[in-house]
């Protein structure tokens, strides 16, 4: 039996099809949204450092821009395929829609392996990419951002090339830039704070007060640290944190019944969010197995590390005390586990709602760039709060109105909003 190989785009289409079924979309709308509206394939010829010539393949897909200029990252990957880029651009359309920011979905990439390229050659690829596509991207058309194996440096090279060609300063062309070079403040905090804002709103719906709750969180990176910070400020108590130990190549949970102290933990944490076990022990933390964070007697769980953490096997061990799970990471819950969580009556805040803080902040970066006026960090975070709160409540209302889970309603609502925009424009 010939099995069909894994294809991200096929999977994205399948997901869309089942939502389309629920929404009873017409054929034309399905046709429009199943595939990207625009695709660019182009060659980027480069003179390598040794003088030889090499041609790289570049892509840009705009899945849908009915709600606003397309937004999405640029990936440098040795085995990039157009199908991957298509799938990712579609997911961006839904993501911007659920976060309620006036942007569409796009994605791009170059087939290349930065491990095999010098810095200068990477710069040439960045500039070459812009030269090929500058007519079809721009602050009011399509706004790229960093993604797999690209970083702020690549963004600056691209911006520079774009500005040279167009003869104008247009920092809004691209996001993910360093602060001071068109980047936005508050970016570091955005995702972690965003998760807690959704939790705060969820607590209100459950008539709970943050100060009466406890939390356990997986991961101790950026997202977790800021989530803990804001949650603690709100009066909540985090009693367990897990993190990956680089040296032992496994994860551990750090538990303190009286509540973890963020500052003291940060002091003994390396750049990857790995906590020093010995020193944590001295500070009175119990060192437990990596999966123990999930089984704590707490009100709130935040998986904020990697995907597929809550599975069929461990979901039953989640304490009956747990009331909220907020997905700080992408795809931490498997579909099987999802069903059981639903049956346990736990309020689940799905990933692309819970961690929308990042994309909202990118949007803010673009907005600030376009008016060339930059907000203070407080202003950014204040506006983030408004956006997140609004996004959460829209999904919540949608879910209560239609008796759907938060995950399904976020999905359906996102697609519906895009459909509405397309229809309003008279496209379908």
């Amino acid at each position: 039996m010939e099995k069909k190989s894994f294809n991200a785009f096929e999977m994205a289409k399948k997901q869309f099809d089942s939502a389309a079924e629920m929404l009873e979309l017409d054929e034309a709308t399905r046709d429009l949204l199943r595939t990207p509206m625009k695709e660019f394939h182009f060659s980027i010829p480069i003179t390598m450092d040794d003088g030889s010539k090499k041609v790289f393949r570049g892509f840009r897909c705009i899945h849908n821009d009915a709600r606003g200029p397309a937004k999405g990252g640029i990936r440098f990957h040795p085995q990039e395929t157009i199908d991957t880029v298509r799938a990712l651009s579609m997911w961006m359309t839904w993501k911007t829609s659920v976060a309620d920011i006036p942007l569409g979905g796009g994605k791009g990439g170059v087939i290349c392996d930065p491990h095999n390229l010098t810095k200068r050659e990477q710069e040439q690829i960045c500039r070459g990419w812009v030269r090929q596509i500058y007519k079809n991207v721009g602050p009011f058309t399509d706004i790229p951002a960093p993604d797999v194996m690209t970083n702020p440096q690549h963004m600056l090279w691209m911006l520079d090339e774009y500005e040279i060609i167009t003869g104008k300063k247009q920092p809004g062309f691209i996001t993910g830039k360093p602060v001071g070079m068109g980047g936005s403040l508050g970016r570091t905090e955005a995702t972690g704070y965003g998760v807690i804002i959704t939790i705060r709103e969820a607590l209100k719906k459950l008539s709970l007060k943050a100060k009466d709750t406890t939390m356990s969180i997986q991961g101790f990176g950026n997202v977790s640290q800021y989530a803990i910070e804001l949650y603690t400020q709100m009066g909540g108590k985090v009693i367990c944190v897990s993190c990956w130990d680089q040296k032992d190549e496994k994860s551990f949970s750090f538990k303190k019944e009286s509540g973890v102290n963020l500052t003291e933990l940060k002091n003994i944490t390396d750049q990857f969010g790995g906590i020093d076990k010995a020193r944590a022990k001295e500070l009175g933390y119990d060192i437990l197995d990596g999966d123990q964070w999930l089984f704590q007697e707490v009100d709130i769980l935040i998986p904020a590390a990697i995907e597929n953490q809550i599975t069929e096997e461990n979901v039953e061990n989640i304490s009956s005390k747990v009331k909220i799970i907020a997905e700080g990471a992408n795809g931490p819950t498997t579909p099987e586990a999802d069903k059981i969580i639903e049956s346990k009556d736990i309020f689940l805040i799905p990933d692309f709602l819970a961690n929308a803080g990042g994309v909202i902040c990118s949007y803010f970066e673009q907005v600030q760039c376009n008016m060339n006026y930059f907000w203070t960090k407080d202003e950014v975070l204040g506006k983030l709060d408004q956006k997140m709160t609004y996004a959460f409540n829209s999904v919540y209302q949608f879910s209560t109105k239609n008796s759907m889970t938060m995950r399904v309603s976020a999905n359906i609502m996102a697609i519906e909003k895009v459909v509405d925009a397309c229809k309003a424009r008279g496209w379908v």
Binding site: K4, S5, Q79, H115, P152, K247, Q271
Partner: protein, 1058 residues
């Protein structure tokens, strides 16, 4: 205590020596001063002389020459006097006298010291040379005025010669006749006959010919020169005579150097004399200079022809004169310095003395270094009656290991001879109080081809505090390095290479540590090692001959040795921009996290966390801005000149600043290129940088160690033995003893339809890594192992999932119309390098290679039996038990980078392999080679030990049902560092389990110690105990599946159940 007393006396003595050398130095200056007249020189000599004596205030000097007396003032002659005669050309022409005008206590000779006698004799000798030169100078007139010379000039030279040195006059005559004959002067030929041997003597006769009658040589001289006068111009005669006289004056060197038994002391005084004469205008012919140089190279460095060939092109007699200023040697030393010392001296001359090269590497320096000759150790042992330790090397290795601590103890408590102490003290004065490194430089180490690196100790000393203390520390370190000659590791290595009978001696380099003092710490900004050949390429764009640099912050110790918990930065000097790690995460993860420093306060060598050190030292860390990058969100930024706060921000070591300015890179390239070219061999260097200058610390031919020797595939292979061949990006080496293959089928893998299944492939590999015999299996799979981004590109594994494999093979199989880029192991490249796992890219579709796909896809696949849980993946993952499917054979992979060819063969088990060095591939610690015993020794004793455990185990008391053995001890494949896998079927309660574990722990400790004594491997847990219960056996979970497993099944042992 003994040392202390000796020391305080020594310090007094040293003041004396200092006075003496100052005196000698001043006299030398005086004699070289051409502005002064002869009389002025003599007056100055008597003025200076007294300052060299113990009691200068009552010391008077007097110089008698011909009829003159030179002295400062009148004084009465006393009985307390020393004298030396001035003999010029065999005639006593004068005398130097030293008087004490008052009585002083008895010393060595009357009130005088032995050294004072030596001093006056030395000065006398120098004065003689001076007089001789003065005479010649009057004769020659000024240099360069040969054209204006009058006829009488060469005649007066000859007159002088005939009167003073008849022998030499005859020599000159003979040379002139030869010259005239070559010139074609008939008269000369007839004169020549007078000197010639009668014809009949030339014919082969078996009896000696009769000596010629004593001819009147003076007569002949006149004859010869009259002939010369008739046929040559004045100028020609004068020039020739001039030349011959000069040549003659270096004859003493030839005498010294051509004698094998001459000691270093004799050579040194000859070199001094030569140097003195050279300053006076002595010139050597090119040939003579060369022959002296070669003789000196043999004397001090090496007899190896390959080495001499290189060294003679770059050293000259003067190099050795300079060397002797920093040389420490026992009295009768024969002079060999040992490999490391010789290597550094030659490299420094190649780079610094040759002006072409020196221009390129103008910032390169060599740290101040003193050398102790290799026979210093013999002197030390003789002085302390330790000669019997020499026999240590013939003892059983277990005994050697056991006694080694005792040897160290004895050596460290033995004093040095006062002669050596004196020399070391001089050395310490010269080096000052910066930290020192005491490097071993043994005779064996210099033999091109033997990989003797890292066997002997090199020790750091902080060198702080009062001089007595520093002396004690220095001697302590030297004696410890001496003791390491008798350590078990080098002795075992020598035994394996049949070098035991070689008379190993240990030279020492005492070198200033390169670095700066920052707070309490002393360290270089960065250091590292560099190789001409890169055996670990991480990109297809890097060529082998581009070289490789391993860089670390601080002392280079972390770059030299592979470390398991830290990573050096690897650089390809020709492509410094092609880094191993590219993304920010990788760059941080694989950056050096620790730094080695010398703590001047505790006087210890310490390892610190780099980020803590940076926060502490901040900007005082030399050129910190070139070494680190600031971690700013998702961005690595170069530190700013002013804006960067080293106390607050986070940093990671990248060396980005250093590499981006290109200066360092260019310099390293030049150094590597120049040395390789001149050595005509790839080299391996150590270097350090203190923030201002780059220092070369060591240089030797690149050691083609076990994992980097090109291995050519045997010729007698049959076609059906070949499993695959590869011809792209091949490194050197040999991987043998492969009993299992794990093959992830590229087609099967790409056909997997869900993410979950792909992830499971990674998980299954991780489990296989635990089950399969360590380092005896290879992993083969499509595309990029460890791909983090898109799992489709390759099996998603982390390093711990593959840590036990012996080789990682990435297969680039055409997928539709494109061939995937391979990762070259980049995802865990540094882990692979540091743990010695080999990597091979396999382009299986290439037409000119062989790929026996059938073997992998059609052989019996035991995967399902090993991991029944993942049986649905059995058409993707194939596990092949090579022994089973090939009737007892194994896989061997021969890799040759020179020809860029690798061949994997199915062959009979290589017996040769079982004995020696190839273990190397399997052991984690590259520097340890401890295989002395026959291969079957290691598993046999392990098996016996476990049988004994089973037998003596009280099964009832401890609740044990069965005891099994599996793994290497059962499979007869144990290595010295193998553990013993035991499976215990346990049916008792908690208390019994605790008891059992305690009982086993005692076994563990004693077996571990036994293994250590025999092999040097310290294993914390030699017993790897796996306890399973009834449930495990029922469900066949965890290790229970080992029982009645298809491959490597656990074997039950007899358990005493009474």
């Amino acid at each position: 205590m003994k040392n202390d007393k000796l020391l305080s006396r020594l310090i007094n003595d040293l003041n004396e020596r200092a006075k003496e050398s100052k005196c000698l130095y001043e006299i030398q200056n005086l004699l070289n001063d051409r502005e002064l007249s002869f009389d002025e020189v003599c007056y100055n000599i008597v003025t200076i002389l007294p300052m060299g004596w113990q009691f200068p205030e009552i010391c008077k000097a007097q110089l008698l020459y011909k009829n003159k007396i030179f002295q400062i003032e009148e004084f009465e002659e006393t009985p307390w006097m020393q004298e030396v005669q001035i003999t010029v050309q065999g005639k006593v022409t004068g005398q130097i006298n030293i008087y004490y005008i008052e009585e002083r206590p008895q010393a060595d000779i009357g009130p005088f010291l032995n050294e004072e006698l030596t001093l006056i004799e030395t000065i006398g000798k120098q004065f003689e040379l001076y007089v001789l030169h003065q005479q010649l100078r009057t004769v020659f007139g000024n240099h360069g005025n040969i054209e204006n010379s009058t006829q009488s000039e060469w005649r007066s030279i000859l007159d002088l010669l005939t009167r003073t040195d008849k022998g030499f006059a005859v020599k000159i005559t003979r040379k002139m006749i030869n010259f005239l004959c070559i010139y074609g002067v008939k008269e000369a030929e007839s004169l020549l006959e007078k000197f010639s041997i009668p014809d009949e003597c030339v014919k082969e006769k078996n009896f000696p010919f009769k000596a010629l009658e004593d001819i009147d040589s003076m007569m002949t001289l006149t004859d010869v020169f009259s002939v010369a006068e008739r046929h040559l111009t004045e100028e020609e005669i004068l020039t020739n005579v001039h030349k011959w006289i000069k040549q003659e004056s270096s004859a003493f060197m030839a005498n010294i150097l051509n004698n094998n038994a001459t000691t270093v002391s004799e050579i040194i005084s000859a070199l001094e004399k030569y140097h003195f004469l050279a300053e006076q205008g002595l010139e050597l012919s090119g040939l003579r200079q060369k022959s002296f140089t070669v003789a000196l190279i043999r004397k001090f460095m090496s007899d190896q022809r390959t080495f001499i060939d290189v060294a003679k092109k770059h050293l000259n007699v003067d190099s050795f004169y300079k060397l002797t200023n920093n040389l420490i040697h026992p009295e009768h030393s024969l002079g060999k310095l040992g490999g490391k010392s010789a290597g550094l001296i030659v490299a420094s001359h190649i780079l610094l003395e040759d002006s072409n090269n020196a221009k390129k590497v103008k910032n390169l320096k060599i740290p101040k270094t003193w050398y102790i000759t290799a026979d210093g150790i013999l002197d030390f042992m003789k002085y302390n009656n330790l000669e019997d330790i020499m026999e240590q090397k013939y003892k059983d290795i277990g005994l050697v290991r056991q006694e080694y601590p005792y040897v160290i103890h004895v050596f460290k408590n033995s004093p040095f001879s006062s002669e050596m102490i004196k020399e070391l003290s001089k050395c310490l004065d010269d080096l000052g109080d910066t930290p020192l490194i005491i490097r071993s430089s043994s005779l064996l180490e210099d033999r091109m081809g033997t990989a003797f690196a890292g066997k002997y100790k090199s020790l750091f000393v902080a060198n702080q505090g009062p001089k007595e203390k520093r002396m004690t520390d220095l001697m302590d370190a030297i004696s410890e390095v001496y003791a390491s000659t008798f350590g078990p590791d080098p002795i075992q290595y020598r035994a394996e290479h049949e070098l035991l009978d070689y008379n190993e001696q240990m030279g020492i380099m005492i070198q200033q540590v390169v670095g700066k003092k920052v707070g309490d710490y002393f360290f270089p900004a960065f250091a590292g090692v560099a190789f001409s050949n890169n055996e670990y390429r991480w990109s297809s764009r890097i060529k082998r001959e581009d070289g490789l640099i391993r860089l670390v912050p601080g002392l280079g110790t972390r770059a030299v040795d592979r470390t398991s918990d830290d990573y050096p930065i690897l650089i390809s000097p020709k492509n410094s921009d092609l880094r191993v790690n590219v993304s920010i995460d990788e760059k941080i993860r694989y950056s050096p996290k620790q730094i080695d420093v010398i703590n001047l306060k505790t006087k210890k060598f310490e390892t610190k966390k780099i980020d803590e050190l940076i926060k502490k030292c901040g900007k005082n860390y030399p050129i910190i801005n070139k070494l680190v990058s600031v971690i700013s969100e998702k961005y690595l930024l170069p530190p700013k000149k002013f804006g960067t706060d080293y106390k607050k921000e986070n940093f990671t070591v990248t060396f980005d600043g250093l590499l981006s300015d290109q200066v360092f890179m260019k310099e390293m390239n030049d150094i590597l290129y120049t040395l390789k070219q001149k050595y005509e061999h790839p080299v391996d260097i150590e270097f350090a940088h203190d923030g201002d200058d780059l220092y070369l610390l060591q240089c030797r031919p690149q050691n083609l160690g076990y994992d980097s020797k090109p291995i050519t595939c045997p010729e007698d292979i049959k076609q059906n033995e070949i499993l695959f061949t590869a011809n792209k990006f091949i490194s050197n080496g040999l991987v043998q003893g492969i009993s299992h293959v794990v093959y992830v089928d590229p087609v099967g893998y790409s056909n997997l339809s869900s993410l979950e299944e792909m992830k499971n492939v990674g998980k299954a590999i991780g489990l296989l890594n635990k089950i399969l015999p360590k380092k005896q299996f290879i992993l083969m799979g499509p595309g990029r192992w460890g791909s983090r981004g898109d799992i489709k590109l390759g099996v998603s594994v982390s390093y711990s999932d593959i840590s036990n494999t012996s080789m990682l093979i990435e297969i680039a199989k055409k997928n539709k119309d494109y061939v995937p880029d391979l990762s070259f192991g980049t995802h865990f490249f540094l882990d692979l390098v540091e743990s010695g796992i080999r990597y091979l890219p396999l382009y299986s579709d290439n037409r000119d290679i062989i790929f026996n796909e059938e073997f992998f896809t059609e052989s019996t696949n035991i995967f399902k039996d090993l991991l029944p849980k993942y049986s649905d993946l059995s058409n993707v993952i194939k596990v092949i038990d090579v022994k089973n499917v090939t009737k007892g054979r194994e896989i061997q992979i021969y890799m040759n980078a020179e020809s860029d060819k690798a061949t994997a063969l199915i062959r009979d088990i290589n017996e040769e392999y079982n004995s020696r060095e190839h273990y190397h591939f399997r052991t984690k610690d590259v520097n340890k080679i401890n295989i002395d015993k026959k291969d079957d020794y290691h598993w046999k004793w392990r098996l016996r030990a476990v049988e004994k455990i089973a037998e003596s185990l009280d099964a009832k008391r401890f609740g044990v049902k069965e005891l099994y053995i599996f793994g290497s001890a059962k499979n007869a494949t144990s290595r010295p560092d193998s553990d013993i896998d035991i499976l215990i079927h346990f049916i008792g309660n908690k208390v019994q389990k605790e008891g059992l574990l305690i009982w086993l722990d005692a076994w563990n400790t004693s077996l571990g110690y036994y293994n250590f004594l025999n092999t040097g491997y310290k294993l914390e847990n030699i017993l790897d105990i796996h306890i399973i219960n009834n449930d495990d056996i029922k469900t066949k979970s965890s290790y229970a599946m080992k029982i009645s497993a298809v491959s490597d099944a656990a074997r039950p042992l007899f358990v005493n159940k009474k």
